[in-house]
Structure formats: C-alpha cells, structure tokens
C-alpha cells in the first residue's frame, strides 16, 4: 500500500490563542537550519529505522505528502522544492501524488501572494489547506488572527490562477463572539468560494492553549467570556452538517466535508490504518505494526540530526487488542462506518456496548456494518471511549 508522508514545520509568526499544539512562535532565523536538518533526516532515516527494527523506505511507494504546522505556508518555492525533492529521492513518489501544504490565508492572500502560489505550484504542490477558522473579523481578532474574509477570497484567487484548485478551508465552531448569525456568515462565505473541501472543528478547551486555560479558570482574557455556550456550539455544528450536505458536500469523516472525489487522501490514511511516515519535530509514524514519534523539541531535534543520535522514542508494536480498538476509535470517524467481524459479534461485552450506543441514538447498524449517526458525531468521544478495553 502506498504510504503518506508528513513533514512538520513547527514555526508560526505568532501563536493563536486556541492553539494547543506544540508549535513554537520563535525567530525564523532557525528556519533554514531546521529545513536542512529535515532534508538530512529524510536522507538518513531509512537506514536508521532499519537499525531500530523498523522497515526502511528506500524506493517505497508514496502517494501523498502533507506539510503541516505550524505554518508551512511561510516557505518559499525554493524551500518547498528542496523538501519535495528530498522525498522523491528516497521514496517512489507516484505521479498523481496528493501534495498538500497547510497555510494561513495571509501567506498567499496578501501582497506577493500570487507569486508565492505560483512558486508552490511549480514546486509540485497541488493542494492547499487554509486555516481560516472564521470569516468574521471580530472573531478572528479575538483569537489573534490577522486576515479577513477578503484575504481568504484573494488567496483562493491566487491559488486558482496558479493552477491549484484543490483547496480546503478550516472553520472552528465555538470561537469567542460567535453567534448563529455570524456562524452562518462564515459558512456562506466559505461556500461562496466554491472550495471542494471543508474541515469543521469545535473549540478545544484544555490547559495547553491560552484560551482553553482561561476558560477552565473562568477568566476574562482572550475573549473567554464571549465563548458561546455548549448548546449553541452543538447547534452550529448541526447547522453546518445540514448546510454543507445540501450544497453537495459529503460528510466523509466526523470533522471533514468534501465534494465527490475530493476527500483528503492523506487524512484518510490515519483512519484506515494505512502506513504514514513523519519527518521533523513531533512527527508521528505508523508502519502498519509500530507507532513512534519524533522528539517534540526543536533544539533536541536539531542536535539529534547534527550528532546522528536518535530523535525518536522507542517504537511501540501495537498489540492485537490495540489494533482492534483502533478499528473503532479511528474507523468510526469515517461516516461510512466499519464492518464488524466474527470476534466482535461473538463478544458479549461488545454486543452490549453496540446496543447501548444504538439505544442512545449514537450508532446505526446495517447488517454487519455500524456507523455513527449525526447525534453520535456530537458524542463521538463518548462512543469511542466505550469501545476501549472490550475489543
């Protein structure tokens, strides 16, 4: 099976208040040395993985590259080309590979954006995932974002002029100041752009983001006092599902919507237990049997590459049970659902769990297949957690 490649670019101009990811808003002076380390890692790791008992990847087929962040949209054409060349030098990159870059709208929607889009296209990028989050200025400013709806529209223009029409937009339900009307406004604006792919998330509240921490302490900073109530966020989400569905978008995974044939090939690998290999800081890998991750500190990463010492934790071989559990908590994210096998059906605890989810209206069953209902999407963690320990 062809693998997906993930390249981590953990730099941002500034950290968004809702971000709980280990990205670092730090001096870009470190970017060039980071990129050369990244190329080195790609060049050396096949041999080093083999030493660690993992499969090497010299000549292995790959059909997607995903550059995630951070803000990879800060890279110029030359830097991108080098990275993609590093990959194609080691992997057998299929000609129609999906090559995605995550970008902020202002990377390509402002001055010089048209040129940058053209450089990306020339380097081989054919898909762009934009962290838009909202089309409403007040909401954007509250979380530390600089763009406007116009920037997003301009970015789309530039990308299309450069020949990149496979565009995805991220939206977040639950931002400070969001109302039913403003949410409608964001959805309308996104739909008006006619992009083939949309991701819709909910605001995550935990100690790792500034806004999340403030909400947990019921403080007033970062617009925490203006975050809509849970009930409203649920309404926003249901509204988005209905509206996107009626506009021809298929809800193919709990947070992702796509026009027919435009589902993200790379993302699907995560949910279908296909192999993917990650390079860079905090990049995760799965070879079909083991999961492992690189260090999440830029300094240790740079040092490790420099001194040729290990930059990843001991790979963990998945147990049979873990694999069976993953079928549920990853597989059920896909709206088409999963097939039950004979071991599921013979397991009394499993049958009880499925029946209890059906009774709660979270799962529906067709023959030997189960899938989340719309209501189940909203309570997906509740559903997934229930399958742990019994699979």
């Amino acid at each position: 099976m062809a693998a997906g490649i993930y390249l981590s670019i953990p730099f941002c101009r500034q950290k968004c208040t809702y971000c709980n990811f280990a990205s670092e808003a730090r001096a870009f002076s470190a970017l060039p040395s980071y990129l050369s380390a990244l190329s080195k890692e790609i060049a050396q790791s096949s041999a080093r993985w083999e030493q660690a008992g993992l499969p090497g990847y010299e000549g292995a087929p790959a059909d997607s590259i995903f550059m995630g962040g951070g803000t990879p949209g800060l890279l110029n054409g030359g830097q991108l080309r080098n990275l993609i060349l590093s990959i194609s030098a080691r992997f057998s990159l299929e000609p129609d590979a999906e090559i995605t870059i995550e970008a902020s709208p202002e990377n390509i929607g402002s001055e010089g954006g048209a040129e940058r889009a053209a450089e990306w296209a020339a380097a081989g990028v054919n898909r762009v995932s934009m962290g838009v989050q909202s089309m409403v200025e007040r909401e954007l400013r509250a979380v530390g974002r600089q763009h406007t709806a116009a920037t997003v529209a301009e970015a789309c223009n530039h990308l299309r002029q450069a020949g990149i029409s496979n565009i995805s937009i991220d939206l977040i339900a639950g931002l400070p100041h969001q109302t039913a009307e403003s949410w409608q406004e964001s959805l309308d604006a996104a739909l008006a752009l006619g992009v083939p792919h949309l991701s819709v998330y909910m605001l995550e509240v935990d100690e790792n983001s500034r806004l999340g921490g403030e909400l947990l302490r019921a403080g007033p900073r970062y617009g925490a006092g203006a975050v809509p109530p849970e009930e409203a966020i649920v309404e926003f989400y249901f509204h988005a599902m209905a509206r996107l569905n009626s506009n021809g978008y298929e809800h193919y995974e709990i947070s992702n919507f796509a026009q027919p044939g435009r589902a993200s090939r790379h993302n699907e690998k995560y949910w279908t237990a296909a192999p993917y290999f990650g390079f860079g800081v905090d990049a995760h890998s799965y070879d079909g049997r083991h999961r492992w991750a690189n260090t999440d500190s830029i300094d240790s990463y740079l040092q490790g590459i420099e001194s040729i010492t290990s930059i990843f934790d001991e790979p963990r071989a998945l147990s049979d049970t873990e694999r069976r559990e993953e079928r549920f908590f990853l597989g059920l994210r896909r709206r088409e659902g999963i097939h039950l096998d004979h071991r599921d059906v013979e397991n009394a605890e499993m049958v009880a769990q499925i029946n209890s989810c059906i009774a709660s209206g979270w799962i529906e069953r067709t023959g030997g297949k189960i899938r989340l209902t719309n209501h189940g999407v909203i309570f997906s963690n509740e559903v997934f957690a229930g399958f742990l320990g019994i699979a």
């Binding site: 993930y6 995903f66 909910m202 966020i233 649920v234 993953e326 909203i378 957690a385």
Partner: protein
C-alpha cells in the same frame, strides 16, 4: 561505688511512690520521663532511645501518647533509703480523659509540668482538675527553664492563679539538660504519700490499661490497691463476672520482668489468657475469685464513643480488607466501635464510633498507613437522643436513621464544657467562632495581663465538624482547647438531605441546627454542581428538610464532546484522551442513573474548604 548493703526495703509499701506526669502537649513530658529513667539507672544512656515510653510510630510522630504504660524505677534517696517509684504514663489528649482519670486513680501523686515559656494551657488545667478529683498530691514542675524565652515566675503565677498551687512549691527543671532532676526526685519521695491499702485485705486491683499481645492474649496493667495478687490465682473481673487464672505477672523496668506476686501499692501486669480486649475494661476492678472484696473500686464507666462517622473503601473491592483491618485495630483499641453499614451512594462500609476527633483521625491514619487502605470518611457526627411523640427515647448516631420529622417530640444533643486559653489579641476571632458554634459563655477570666481563660458550653456536634481547624486559624495556633462532656440539651435539630435527581445521597445527610440548614444546604449543592460532570440529561441538585427544599442547583445536560483536529496523525494522543475519559467513568459511583466522581464526596465532606 555504693557501700551500703543492698536491702529489699523498696518492696515495702512504705517505700513505694506511685505517680504520673501530666502536661500539655509539647511541654516536655516524654523528655522528663526519659531523664527519670536515665538518672535512676533504669536505662543506660547507650541503650536509650529517645522517648521510650511512646512506642507506636504514630504516637511519636504526633508527639502524643496514646497508650498508657507503667515503669518501675529504683531510686536511692538522699535519706539513705531505696524507693520503688512507679511512673504511670497517661494519654495526653482530651479524647482520652477517662483513661487519664483511671491512670491518675492508680497514683498518689503527680508532677504537673508546665513549659516555662508557654505557661499554663487548657490541657494543663483539665488534667490538673482530674488529679485534684483523684486527691493526688501535685508537684508543680516548671520545665525548659534554660531556654532564653523562659519566664519561670510567670509560669508559677499562672499555676497559682489557675490551679491554686503555691509558687514556692514549684521545682525548676530542664529535662533536656538535667537541671533540677535530683531535687524533683527528692520531692517525689518526700511529698508524695506512700500507698495506704492493706496487703491483708481481699484483693482489689484497678485496671488502668490493657493491650493485645499475639502470644499471651490480653495483657492487663493494674495497680493493686488492696490485698495481694499471686501467680496462679483465680481472678474475677467485677463488671462482667468473668473468671481467669493469672497465668503470669510482671513489671516493666522498662524491660518486662516476671514476678510471682504483686502486693498492695504495687503496679504490674497480668496475662490470663483473655481473648478479647473488651473483657478487660479500663477502670474495672479485679478481685480474687475465692475471696472477693466487698465492693468494686469507685469510678468505673463503660466506654462510650462520642463521635461517629461512616468509613468506606474508595475501591469497593477493599471492603473485606477494611473489615479485617478494623478487627485488628479493635484487638488493641477497646474504644473503637464499628458495625457494617450500607450506603446507596458509597456502597458497603462501616459505621464507626470513636472517643473523639483525634481518636478518629488516628484510626483513619492507621487504616490508611498500616493497612494501605484508601478511605472515604463521611462527615463526623454525634449521638443524639430523639424522643418520639410516643414518649419512647432512641439514640441515633447515623443521620440516615433519624426518624421522620413528624414523629419527633424533641431532640437532645450532647453538650460539652470547653476550656480555651488564648492571648488577648485573638479574642475577637475566637469569641465570634464560639458564637457561630452556638456556644454559651460560662466564665471569662484573665490568667495574666494578656492571657485569658474562656469557659463555654458548646454543642458537641458543632465541635466535631470543623471547630479545631477554625480555632487554629482564628488564633494562629495560639489557643489551647480542652473539654469534658456536660450532658444533653434540647435543640431544634433537623435532618438535612442532599438529593441528586430526586435520589437522596445518604452519605451526605446530616443533622444540623434548623437556623443553619439553609446555609449548609446551599454550600453543599453549589459544591456538588461544580464537581459532578455534566450527564446526558439535566440533573437537579437539592437540599431538603423532609419534603421542604431549602436549596437548589441545576447541572445542565452534556450537549457534546469536542470534535477536534488530529494533528499530524498523533493517534496516541487521541487514545490517551479516550482512556482518560473511560478511566474517569470507572472511578465514579453510580447513584440512580447519575455518575458521581468519588472526589465529589470527598470534597463535599470537607465543608470548611
């Protein structure tokens, strides 16, 4: 070298002196006892362990003595005679005042130790009065006189003022550096009277302590008041009529030494194959079965627990181990009572009775530390007398067994008389606290220009809840407190129930004064609202007196889980999140259809936080 011939005159009751040391916590009782052992040669310096009398770890850590012990010392006085000194140690806490009084009843005298910098404290006074009630000769001892902050004159004056002992009688010592110890030993010999009971009379021995020894059964510590106790004699316990053979007799020097006989005036221990510690009750009289005395010694009381609480294992699987652990503790602690109890909210546990709050804490701590149990303790309460409309009286120590309000004629609660000694500067806060706790002032006296003795009557249930902690806070630790039971009083008490989705949480029911019910209920449901996670449906939290709701909160239904981004295929992060969610569910107690986290019970039961 001692050139005098060795005599056995110290066996003659004329040369016996039985005494205790009474003191407030930290005033130096244990150090003084160590010094006496050392000076009389009972313990060579090199074998000396600090504070040998306090043998349990817990006792040493808390700096208090839980179990009484008795040590026989031989002292060669300046008058040329050899004396037998029996040092009878007493428990050092208010919860054990009955045990203290029985230990004192075994003595003719006591050293009243007062810290030269601290002066008289509440416990000094309480113990001094117990000694006076037992007609003991008291020798005031001012300790720690070598500290720079020592004010022996101040301490002497306070002793005179509070207890009425003349300042000239006081001996100045430093137990730590040995100053004044000789003078103190001479005072013991010359000021404390010899025991008077006749060795020819029928046997009467006072039990003042007992403990369980896995090899010999219950070991009983006695003071022979009259008559003689010989090894092999059939002895009878007065209160229950049980008869045993005194298999072995012994004394402590402090090493255990076997003897053949204990005679009037002497102190020693008996092993008689007694199986249960409750058969040998402190304060009971032992007589000879073949030649019984005419009557028992005065002052015996059955042990009555004063404070009650439910003890539940956090992990339901630990119910068996908790029962075994309580059984083991009970072997050595006749004051600990327990019976199985079943709570809808907390599962299977035990209703336990304790002498007081400290006793409860000690038991709890030993269960957790020595038996590795994780416990939930319900709010401590007291035993009420409920008089039914029918006239019948029942005693209730568990709020869930409180009768319906309509059936109750009146309720009586136990009342204590409390003594508090403090600095004038903290009076404001303390008086306010006593007021809040429904205290009634009996006395207000100045002990010196800046120290005050307060005497108050207080409902015991107000004291057991959070009084100690609050007193410590308002006085910054500069208040000492002691109490004794003073009887019962009628009070408008009601049962406050906490209900979740209409189901009462039995473990949280409590008996409160009607005027406080509303406030308590409000605090409880507010806390619960914050601690119970949202469920799939709306949950009502209510505090109620009978059918009347006095406080209400609502937990809104859980509307969603978060649909979050999966950063770069980090599946282990997703898994951890889900495992945490699942684990959290497991630790919850299910009441009706509501999942309540264990922490909610713990937090709510600590009402003062």
């Amino acid at each position: 070298m001692d050139s005098q011939p060795f005599t056995q005159e110290y066996m003659d009751s004329k040369y016996i002196r039985n005494f205790s040391i009474i003191a407030h916590i930290d005033h130096g009782k244990s150090t003084l006892a160590d010094r006496l052992l050392e000076v009389t040669g009972a313990l060579a310096q090199r074998e000396m362990m600090a504070q040998v009398l306090d043998s349990m770890d817990l006792e040493r850590e808390r700096g208090i003595t839980i179990k009484a012990h008795a040590v026989r010392l031989m002292y060669h006085s300046k008058d040329g005679h050899d004396y037998q000194l029996n040092l009878i140690d007493t428990p050092g806490h208010v919860d054990f005042s009955y045990e203290v009084s029985r230990s004192l009843a075994a003595c003719e005298g006591a050293l009243l130790v007062v810290d030269a910098s601290q002066g008289v404290e509440a416990q000094t006074i309480a113990n001094a009065f117990l000694a006076l009630e037992n007609n003991l000769e008291m020798i005031p001892v001012i300790n720690k006189i070598d500290l720079p902050s020592a004010e022996p004159e101040m301490a002497k004056q306070q002793i005179e003022h509070a207890i009425g002992l003349p300042p000239a009688d006081a001996i100045l010592v430093s137990a730590k550096s040995g100053i004044g110890i000789d003078e103190m030993l001479e005072a013991i010999v010359h000021r404390i009277p010899a025991p008077t009971g006749s060795a020819d009379a029928p046997l009467r021995a006072l039990i003042f302590d007992s403990w369980f020894d896995p090899y010999r059964g219950v070991v009983v510590l006695v003071r022979v008041m009259e008559g003689k106790l010989t090894r092999g004699t059939k002895i009878r316990f007065w209160s229950n009529g049980q008869v045993y053979v005194a298999e072995s007799l012994g004394i402590f020097t402090p090493k255990a030494v076997a003897v053949d006989e204990l005679s009037a005036g002497e102190v020693g221990c008996i092993a008689a194959n007694i199986k249960k510690i409750s058969d040998a009750q402190t304060g009971d009289t032992i007589t000879e079965d073949a030649r019984p005395a005419a009557g028992p010694l005065p002052g015996f009381q059955e042990i009555k627990p004063m404070v009650f609480a439910g003890l539940y294992p956090v992990d339901a699987d630990n119910h068996g181990p908790l029962r075994d652990a309580l059984e083991k503790l009970r072997l050595n602690d006749s004051a600990l009572f327990y019976e199985a109890e079943n709570s809808a909210a907390l599962g299977f546990g035990f209703r336990c009775g304790f002498l007081g709050l400290l006793h409860m804490e000690i038991v709890q701590e030993r269960l957790e530390r020595e038996f590795d149990l994780n416990l939930i303790t319900t709010a401590p309460g007291v035993r009420y007398r409920v008089i039914h409309k029918s006239g019948a009286l029942i005693e209730v120590d568990n709020p869930t067994k409180f009768p319906e309000a309509g059936d109750i004629e009146r309720v009586e609660e136990p009342v204590i008389t409390a003594t508090i000694i403090t600095q004038e500067a903290y009076l404001g806060g303390i008086l306010a606290l006593l007021e809040e706790k429904r205290g009634a002032q009996k006395k207000f006296e100045y002990l010196s220009a800046t120290r005050v003795i307060l005497t108050y009557d207080l409902p015991l249930n107000e004291v057991v809840l959070d009084f100690y902690d609050r007193l410590k806070t308002v006085s910054r630790g500069y208040a000492s407190f002691d109490y004794h039971l003073a009887g019962y009083q009628t009070a408008p008490l009601v049962k406050l129930d906490i209900m979740v989705a209409g189901e009462p949480l039995d473990a949280l029911s409590m008996i409160v004064h009607r005027d406080f019910a509303h406030e308590r209920g409000k605090i409880f449901v507010e806390k619960l609202r914050k601690l119970i996670p949202r469920q799939q449906f709306e949950v009502a939290l209510q505090a109620a007196i009978g059918a009347k709701i006095v406080a209400r909160e609502t937990i809104h239904a859980l509307r969603k889980n978060v649909i979050a981004k999966c950063y770069g295929g980090d599946i282990s992060r997703k898994r951890k999140l889900l495992e945490k969610q699942k684990e959290g569910k497991k630790r919850m107690k299910r009441v009706g259809r509501i999942d309540i986290p264990q922490e909610a019970f713990l937090a709510v039961l600590k009402i003062n936080e």
